[in-house]
């Protein structure tokens, strides 16, 4: 795991279509084994048996050349938080207990959670707006695993899941968007309402029930039954560019009508990041969000999108602690975070 600490996953490259506004695309599939109860009803023994079975089959299936498996029961809470910050596991998986694990490849595009709410949660993350590409990859992985594992499936209800909200395709297709101007102009609520009517939901960056910080939002499908995977992807695919267009319109309006205020806001944020001696994780995200918009608008030219995207993740609590090689109190973290950001952005002389 050590080699993960100083780099980031491929989905943070800041490339791909619409990458000024769309950070990443993620698709996940929920799958269960036919011959076992769902995890909330299974015994500790069955849980262990499922974990072992899937772990072995994952190795056999060799999804990617360098698939790495981590038993979450054997790593520290900081390591679990670290994996969550990297979006390799969900918040529930980081916090849960019992025998469970995660497998992922070196590029961190593919990850498979074992014994989360369902026996298997397969996910693919890509940089930028690449739903079709992500679906192609995950569909193949699913096919490969299906040859090795006997999935619970019914012709009527599709892939069977512990929670009926996931049954059918078991698919959640989500797109992470950076929407600072819609936030500033107070149009974001309107977007959420409109999106809701189309059967989509908006979530925070770590999924269900998490807060939107740094103006980052995940747009995903709400329904999983009665629509095919392609249809679901089509819906998300048609809505996202419209939201991105709306965000661009809001940015343009700010640039023409409130240019001084906008520039002031962007530069103050940049300045703050370059001089602050203590930065909380949340404040860092908010400031980075403004700077990111500034770079997109051509107001700031001396920092790459990749560095900015990276800073969003590398300044999170577990990442900082891993880089320092020890556990840190919140105050210590804030000092180290500020120093790290100054180093990356070039200190004010």
């Amino acid at each position: 795991m050590r080699e993960l600490y100083s780099k980031t996953g491929e989905w943070l490259k800041g490339t791909g279509p619409e990458s000024d506004i769309v950070i990443s695309t993620r698709i996940r599939l929920a799958r269960n084994l036919a011959n076992f109860p769902f995890l909330n009803r299974g015994s500790e023994e069955q849980r262990k048996e499922i974990e072992k079975l899937i772990r072995e089959k994952l190795k056999e299936a060799a999804l990617t050349k360098d698939l790495h498996y981590i038993k979450l029961s054997e790593v520290s809470p900081v390591d679990r938080l670290f994996l969550m910050e990297r979006r390799l596991i969900s918040r529930e998986h980081a916090g849960g207990d019992g025998e469970r694990g995660v497998a992922f490849g070196r590029s961190e595009t593919v990850s498979v959670m074992v014994n989360e709410e369902d026996h298997l949660r397969i996910q693919v993350i890509r940089s930028g707006f690449e739903l079709r590409e992500a679906w192609k990859i995950i569909d193949e992985i699913d096919n490969t695993l299906e040859e090795k594992l006997y999935y619970a499936f019914s012709p009527r209800f599709g892939y069977l899941t512990a929670c009926p909200t996931n049954v059918g395709t078991g698919m959640r297709a989500s797109v992470m968007m950076h929407l600072p101007a819609l936030g500033l102009t107070h149009h974001i609520e309107k977007v959420f309402n409109a999106v809701g009517k189309l059967g989509l939901v908006v979530r925070g960056i770590y999924g269900e029930g998490t807060q939107a910080i740094g103006d980052l939002y995940q747009i995903s499908n709400q329904f999983t039954l009665g629509k095919s995977e392609t249809e679901i992807i089509e819906i998300v695919e048609s809505v996202v560019p419209r939201i991105a267009g709306y965000e661009r319109m809001a940015r343009k309006a700010l640039m023409t009508e409130n240019r001084e205020q906008l520039e002031d806001r962007v530069w103050r944020s940049y300045g703050m990041l370059k001089v602050a001696r203590m930065l909380s994780s949340e404040e860092t995200m908010q400031l980075l969000s403004q700077v990111r918009m500034g770079v997109n608008l051509g107001l700031i030219n001396d920092i790459s999108m990749e560095t900015l995207n990276e800073l969003f993740i590398l300044t999170l609590p577990a990442h900082l602690q891993k880089q320092e090689g020890k556990e840190l109190e919140a105050n210590e973290r804030n000092v180290i975070r500020a120093a790290y950001v100054r180093k990356r952005l070039g200190e004010f002389q």
Partner: protein
């Protein structure tokens, strides 16, 4: 100073709450403060939404109340209170209760997406035909007759192939 909420850790967060004319100071440790400050803790999860949904619409509950899954032993009532099913068999055991529930939740109760190859070629084709029919409806709606014609041909092709396969299957079985 100890945290006034958990009384265990050192209080590092000091808050002043003002409600009306009253001012109140609170001294908390970071963990407790976070729990208080996080409004999302109160946001309903899909499970909460589901259980409230379940409680609202329960016309079949009387009939289903005594049903228990023979495989995992979960009762229908337990499912309704927790919002989680116990095993894949529950979908069969609770079908009568689940179907209207899924209709409310997803606006549908018939799967039309991917089918595992294990489930058999016939089902895969059936689902594809189902899928193409929906696309055909959409194309007709949009008056895209060229696309509609292509879809119609494909549906015809798939349905006849499937019929032939079925016949072959029966013939082989008869032998």
């Amino acid at each position: 100073m100890k945290c006034e909420s958990c009384n265990k850790r050192h209080a590092t967060v000091h808050l002043t709450e003002i409600s009306g004319n009253e001012k109140r100071e609170r001294h908390l440790c970071e963990e407790c403060a976070q729990n208080i400050n996080n409004p999302l803790v109160k946001m309903p999860t899909p499970a909460d939404i589901l259980s409230s949904l379940i409680n609202q619409v329960a016309p079949e509950i009387g009939e289903m109340a005594k049903t228990t899954c023979p495989a995992c032993g979960l009762s229908y009532l337990e499912f309704r209170s927790k919002g989680r099913l116990g095993c894949p068999m529950d979908y069969t055991a609770f079908k009568k209760g689940l179907t209207p529930l899924l209709e409310k939740m997803h606006g549908a109760s018939q799967h039309v997406g991917k089918v595992p190859s294990r489930a058999g070629k016939e089902l895969i084709v059936k689902n594809e035909v189902l899928q193409l029919r929906r696309e055909l409806d959409k194309a007709v709606e949009k008056e895209d007759y060229e696309k509609a014609a292509k879809l119609r041909d494909r549906i015809f092709e798939l349905s006849t192939n499937n019929e032939e396969k079925k016949d072959e299957g029966t013939v082989q079985q008869d032998r």
